[in-house]
Amino acid sequence: MLLELNNIFKWVTQGGNRVFLLKHLDLAVEQGDFLSVMGPSGSGKSTLLHVLGMLDDFNEGEYYFQGEPVHGFRDKQRARFQKEHIGFVFQAYHLIDELTVYENIETPLLYQKVSSSERKALVADMLDRFGIVGKKDLFPAQLSGGQQQLVGVARALIGKPRLLLADEPTGNLNSRQSREIMELFQELNAEGTTIIQATHSETNAAYGSRTLHLLDGSWTSTPEP
């Protein structure tokens, strides 16, 4: 078992009322899973991914990651777990505009205090693998959307995470670019990376090994274990 959610609640208070973003949510993900989360806009997909990615808090429930209780972690511990085990891919890429492709990919390693020579080797491998060696000195603004998302994925993978979270990774891409990214995900999954993606598209969801549907912060069907 890679991770497990038990009865997760997340809410915000608006005008004195609780608005539930996540409600009574359970989830179990095994090592090597490729899970697609579907649901209409505003159903809570992003919120769930942020909770899973330890980027956001939840109000009630338990979250175990590799058997460790994330709900009991302090900020520092959470940040450490996050940077060691989780990679995140965003719909809007979220590359740092002031850094080159090479530097963007390298950044997570800086936070993991990887030595300079090792960093060089890792980034070079990644550039090579994604076929963007020729672009390594360009800035994000000089790339197409598909290329930017490639860099985003490369950056998410550079720290060799156990879990890759992708929030509508192809939402801003055309269909050819989407396919490339999805095929890449499949490849990564085959190599052992656990992936959870949120998506609107049936086609993309089909790349995963299973699909769950979210509506108003709850599963529409009970998730199988």
Binding site: Q82, F90, H94, D97, E98, L99, Y111
Partner: protein
Amino acid sequence: MIRNYLKIAWRNLGKNRVFSFINIFGLALGLASFLLISLYVTDELSYDRYNEFADRIYRVDSDIRMGGTDLSLSVTSDPMGETLKKEFPQVEEYVRIYASSGSKLIRHGAEFLQEDRVAHADSTLFKIFTLPVVAGRAEHALDAPNTVVISESAARRYFGDPQAAVGQDLETQDGDGTRYRVTAVFKDIPEQSHTDFDFFFSMDNVQYNWGNFASHNFNTYVLLRDPADAAGFPDKFEVIIEKYLSPLLRQFMNTDLESFRKSGNKIEYSLMPLTDIHLHSNRVSEFRPGGDIQNVYIFSLAALFVLVIACVNFMNLSTARSSGRAREVGIRKTLGSEKSALVGQFLIESILLAALALALAFGLCALALPWFNDISGKSLHLADLLRPGYLLFLLLLPFVVGTLAGLYPAFFLAAFNPIRVLKGHKKTGGAEPRFRSALVVFQFAASMILIIGTLVIYNQLEYIRHAKLGFNKEQVVVVDTGGIAEANREAFKNEVAALSSVSRASFAGYLPVANSSRNSTSFSTDPVSTETNVFNMQIWGTDYDYIPTLGMELLEGRNFSPEYGSDSLAIIINEKAAALMGVDNPVGKKLYSKSPDMEEPEVYTIIGMIRDFNFESLRENVGPLGLRLGRNNWEAAFRVLPGKIEQTLDDIEARYHELAPGMPFQYTFLDESFDQMYRQEQRMGQVALSFAALAILIACLGLFGLVTYVAEQRTKEIGIRKVLGASLGNILALLSRDFLKLVLIAFVIGSPLAWWAMHLWLQDFAYRAPIGIWVFAVTGGAALGIALLTVAFKAFRAALANPVNSLRTE
């Protein structure tokens, strides 16, 4: 990691050129003024430290009160040094410097040059003051009579070369010509010294009634074995007074120490640390005018003020800019950055900017230094900043300033919630704009305080310059007649008076400007003086023409006149003296004056009353003054017709040289001497003005940056409003309103503070110009106007932009 941060910082600089420029330039201005003032302050604090024994050298000061007159002297009696050394083992050595004989005329070829920087000194001079000797030998240099040690520049002046000077003779005009053998040449005394002598003559050549504990004429320095011993000297001086001064009191004044003190008199001695003399001592017979610790404080405060404004600016712009960085912060957090790493990153950026600003500040400093030297009256060099202690300080400065200025933005940025900023929430919490507003208010309030301060200072200076003085300082030339033989001075005055361009002439040893002679005596209104009828009054010896020449105004009675034979005991007093006597018209009243050695008091008859005039600075109230006939012919005053000054001066000089061949002709203008008294205030005014201008400039830079930022933030809103039909004026009002509100708040906070501070400053003056409403009106108007211009400049561009462009890019 650091490289990554620096890279980002550098690229960010390039990306936001306007912001970067405003940030760096604003801080550089603040740092530059800080550097300038540091130079000034270190210079002021470094006085006399060149002495190896600086910490062990003390000057013996004397405080005397007799007959109601207080004297704070930098000199003491001639046997004091010797006695201290003999009585107390703590005193290792002493030296006396005697400068009371004034300047000397020294032969240079065919003529005589007047040298002002001359003194006589004991042979122990070099044992106390470690002046490096460049030629000759310091040992025994002043042991024998008719020896002299001279400075390197004096040696060059008279002999061309220091080596050539040793063994040569200098001829002075003392008596009928005395020759002094040059025994050593010392390196010029540094500018940062309370002395500036070029010549030290042997003490043996001083004609003096030696061994007199009651006369105070020698600047005396003692070298203590241990500075800690200084604490015990109040008691030691008491011993000296008991042992050596008590007998004198009994012998000459028929009184003992106790009753001498009981009747309000005093004699006290104290040790003044050498290094405190420049800033803390302003006594009679100082060698040169000193600095003022208060100015050091004021300058430092002003510089700190500007630096703080600049740092606030820096903070303000950085936080404003932070929204642009929010996305980066969010991304970094999702990539695993800890908060501390982010704080570190932004601090490093801030420090980098501060370092750049420091580099720029050096350049600005170099540009401003000549001007600053001019107003501060110093000769500072940029190279002074490169001393080891300073270098360390300068290396630390960007860290300190960068950290101070970057701390808030760093924490502010690092606290961003990554999810919210990545979702595109631009505003994260309402505290941020409020904090920025507070900073703008602070900057403008500080600037306005500086402006109001400047206006009040200038207003006060103008007031002083045009105040009714009670005499006419214009068109008066004062000539030094000391070089003319006593017998010929009257003839000189009369010859000049006969010139057609000279309307009045008088001897004028006492003048109503600073640095002129003074003489005070106590008078009583009855023959027998009691505590209630005695007052102390300046009493100046003048002649028949003194009052008309200086344009003084007789209110009652008459001037001295040769037609009245008895005028030798006649006296003309000022209004203040009459007020002290308690009469409206004092003419005909008597005044009595008795010195200790007199049997009967002298009786003066008041023949006139003149309008009060200031004879000290206008900081002080007019004191009581009496004029009487007396010999005071070492200076003569001539009232010259307008437009004839140049020609008249030539004529006077020609007559001077006839009567005093080979002597230097020296003169001053009375109005210039008068202005001299307010040099300090003028400097203050200029410094205040410069800092006020700087503060306003920096505050405007900050405002400009903020408006730029807000306009950018609101491009979309502006676009929509324009599509909906808003006019240019609507948009301008929209953008300006908030900022103008801030300026108004700043004004409301700043004006009372400024009023209060300047009210305190004015308390130092006996004559004060009131702080008018106009000061505040002008300041408020100016600040508002400048702010409006700054905002309008930016807002125009935002308002004129094509709305479709801004809407599409969002």
